[in-house]
Assembly symmetry: C2
Homo-oligomer: 285 residues x 2
Amino acid sequence: MTSEPNLLAVIQRQLSELNKSESKVAHAILNAPEEATRLSIASLASAAGVSEPSVNRFCKRFGATGFPDFKLQLATSLASGVRYVSRAVEFSDDINTFPVKLFNNAITALMTAKEDLPLKAIARAVDQIAQARRVYFFGLGTSAAVARDAEHKFFRFNVPVFTHEDPLMQRMLAASAGVGDLFFFISHTGRTKVLIETADIVRQTEASIVSLTAEGSPLAQKSHCCINVTVEEDTEQYLPMTSRLVQLVILDVLAAGVTLRRGEGFTPHLARIKDSLKDTRFPTS
Amino acid sequence: MTSEPNLLAVIQRQLSELNKSESKVAHAILNAPEEATRLSIASLASAAGVSEPSVNRFCKRFGATGFPDFKLQLATSLASGVRYVSRAVEFSDDINTFPVKLFNNAITALMTAKEDLPLKAIARAVDQIAQARRVYFFGLGTSAAVARDAEHKFFRFNVPVFTHEDPLMQRMLAASAGVGDLFFFISHTGRTKVLIETADIVRQTEASIVSLTAEGSPLAQKSHCCINVTVEEDTEQYLPMTSRLVQLVILDVLAAGVTLRRGEGFTPHLARIKDSLKDTRFPTS
DNA sequence: CGGCTTTTGTAAGAATATTACGAATAATGC
DNA sequence: GCATTATTCGTAATATTCTTACAAAAGCCG
């Protein structure tokens, strides 16, 4: 499965290097991609104003074995949700375009992350969490919200979980750590100074560090176990959006892992927690 | 574009109602879906141990106009990333299966939401946020983390933003609201009593209510503008996972909307905020 | 067991895609 | 500016793939 990012983008990019009839075909396809997947070679040829073999040659030029194969690839790359060649939101966008773009970005980020999950690290992290006496989730900025989310998930496992957004609190807790304590750091960049300083403090104790951050970053280097999330995101220009989504799903994965670890006997406990919320809600009509 | 969720799932579901040769074809396809998209009708027929017309009839039974059309649909639904028929994590799952399942669930949730975005409500919400004098993001439980995330996003727009997880604080702030205040409620169910009571309090003031919640829920009914997120999720049995992802992306959409609204002249302001963080990080090597 | 319906395969036919080849066009050299 | 060559393109034949019509087989009920 050669994961050519997006056939349409490839065509778009090579547009200038195509000869006359090939470029006619290219335009016909770019104008109505989804329709092209349904057309026969004859229909597409006439729509583009060229002959059938020209269409066939076009397909082969782009790596397909023939027209049917090309249609298949086209359909696949359309379905991947990454329809739009340009991913970034621009000021010319309107309500009909930018929401879809953002959703597509989020979807591709998750799909990319899915392809390359650090399963070993995840398994190890599940181990550590399942055995920990206490777990601290620390993040700053956007990652603080992720940490908060993690807290809401993990407290259900009978493990005392703590979150603090205040760096000073984080430091003090780090300093008073001991055996069985687990510090779970969340950071997109892995370069936030105060967070790394806190990690340094933890390293002087018997506690262990798991982090969800960028590969090879200073924070990653200080961790006993690091779950790498490599989401390429233009953080310089835009706000981090997709990376935190990936982080959240990874935390879901960890939570599920701990649940599985606890075994089926644990479900009643989870059910009890659920039930405790029942009276806080209006019943469904 | 009839968004049939997933062809494989449909086949799986109808498996028991198929006759002998149809079920042979079904199994052949379910065993090797991606290969089936590349096979000719003759190859698939022999792989399944049936005749070509049987395969053809099978295709028509599932809504395709013929075999090529079927292959197209199959390719499309495979590309959507939702390869696995069973969505729920089971106790028999191991590290190789459940992370992928969870990612797939997240991806489909976003894709489904994308298909049916309430653009009008989003546009209205952007209007309201852009004009508001103050914005309060209120949520409880998991949604509190989402609210926190929203706070981190929206403060950049020079609009005073507030989040509080404490229901009592939420009530008091609601009571002291006035013209130009905007209360943004986030709730998966839309049925949380304390949150709805707070909404009631807001309604007695001049402030307005925007909510991100389930369609038709009590909370939705009390809102001036409601962004419906219909994520079908078994909240009774599992923790809400996918719904909050959709909520987060919707908030990204709103943030992007406000940015576009502010116009290009606003980018320097955003850049300044970015820059302010520079010294908190270790430089990239 | 015999008539009925349903299911399935055979074989012919239609549609579709591919290849080979030659004509047209453009490019290069003199 | 003309001849030569290379590239591009379309026609037509061929091969492949799909669909349909029909009949045989299998299952069902009296």
